[in-house]
């Protein structure tokens, strides 16, 4: 239940970020050429949305196993090896997730006072996406793990 809700919320946020990015770039074109008055904060804001999109979307990619991978060797392995490697993959995802939570949070704190030149909040606020996504990596990995167990793998 929790997983499904998180997944749906995450999908909504990711979709909204894509729309925001497209809208901001479009607005930038309009303001530059038609109104001749560029929006000063648009570039920084769009970049920030893109960074959030990247790491939040990566959590969804964990859920759907959509990250780039190489199965050149794995293809030739038996089921027991494969199952072991699936466990390793969970461990890998959790390790990076944990890293992002701990060290992401540290850089959030370290840059809490540094402001974006054109945005009314701190760079630390922007970096919040790392610890948040770290938690989401783990959270989105769990349903995959549960589904595997349900299949008896």
């Amino acid at each position: 239940m929790v997983f499904r809700l998180t997944e749906r919320a995450l999908r909504a946020v990711v979709a909204a970020l894509v729309v925001t990015i497209a809208t901001m770039v479009a607005a930038q074109v309009v303001f530059r050429y038609a109104v001749q008055e560029p929006i000063v904060w648009s570039e920084e804001f769009t970049t920030l949305c893109y960074q959030w999109l990247s790491y939040l979307g990566a959590a969804l990619a964990v859920r759907y196993r959509a990250h780039y991978g190489v199965d050149l060797v794995v293809r030739f392995l038996g089921p027991r090896w494969r199952s072991a490697l699936e466990w390793l993959e969970h461990a890998v995802v959790w390790s990076l997730g944990a890293f992002m939570v701990v060290y992401g949070w540290r850089i959030v704190e370290a840059s809490a006072l540094q402001m974006y030149p054109t945005l009314p909040f701190s760079v630390g606020t922007g970096y919040l996406v790392l610890p948040i996504s770290g938690v989401l990596f783990m959270l989105m990995d769990l349903p995959v793990l549960l589904e595997r167990r349900a299949r008896g793998a």
């Binding site: 770039v25 999109l53 990566a58 540290r106």
Partner: protein, 423 residues
Amino acid sequence: MIVLVIVFVALLVLGMPVAFSMALATIAGFIALGIPLETMAQKMMSGIEPFPFVAIPLFVLAGALMETSGISRRLVGLASAIVGHIRGGLGIVVVASEVLFSGISGSSVADASAIGSILIPSLVKAGYPPERAAAIVAAASGMGMLIPPCLVMVILGAMSGLSISALFIAGFLPGILMALTLAIVIHIQARRGVLPGARGRFSWAALRHALREAILPLGMPVVLFGGILGGVTTATEAAVLAVIYALVLDLVIYREITRKDLGRMLVQTGITTAAVSVLAGVATGMSWTFATTGVPQMIANTLQQITSSPFLLLALVTVTLIIFASLLDGLPALIIFYPILSVTVAKYGIDPLHFGLLAVAALGIGLVVPPVGLLLVVVAQIGRVSLSAVTLPMLPYIAILVATLLVIAYVPWVVLILPRLLL
């Protein structure tokens, strides 16, 4: 440093996601070198901070919209009305389709499975042996890498600071050259009876119909490239204009995209963007580690001792890229090796734009090289043929791809003339 490489290769071989393997390997390297780990977290963000990266979701979205709204389908319809009646026409239509819409979704494998699952069955139905059908689709996908708009170029530009527009324009001439030679070889094979030579009838009525269908979709490339070629818009802005054009076209006329489609497309765009961007962000950390420990310099110096000729160097570098692209998929190979190799290439006085495009072309070939090329593997699966069966029919096409690559490598003006004239 050695720790980093060992961990990375081990995780990669065991089939772990590339981005995660890279991240953990870099973290292990940091620990071994005594670099504070906060630096890695910081690189993961700063690596994807340059504004050109924003073009990635926009191009992915534009590609998805073209596909779902039927713009791609109508353009392919036009292509087959024009060339379908020539001998080998259906094979040539495959090439034309790849010219029109390959490379935009970011994953060459996804492209190949999308195009392959439509075109291979129709080729087989027309009498093409399945292994030849698969070979044509694979070869055309490898070529499609060069033809803009291509996501690999977007990422290369964002990563290296090269202008995305310049990369697009630089790809035109060699891309078209490659497409034409492929088409000619397919035509010759059809005449010689290697491929079915049945010719459809050419009909003006059908062409008129296809043209009427495709006239508005043709606006898509115009919107995309008009601004870039005219130097009016950046590639990022052109992508958003293309998104708007496709949306308006669908809302007003085609109405093929349902609200559910749209939602799914947006999420999928987010996921594709994320997979690519996290890779780029994490790779920044790894490249930075290489750079601070002097690896690119070391490689450059070693190579300079081996050869002082840019001629040989380009060959060496290209072969390296082909090998790793075939093993790793194009994008990860580019993201890992471009920063390292570009240092070397600069020392030999090779134009970065020239090298960038050469790298893109090398990736395209690496992906379809038998027996490991990732894209070839996928296409063979779709065509239900074994890899060994598809290898032989693949050879003439590989020869063409390599020939074009040599032209790109050693006749740089083919790459550089259009960007110089137009930008």
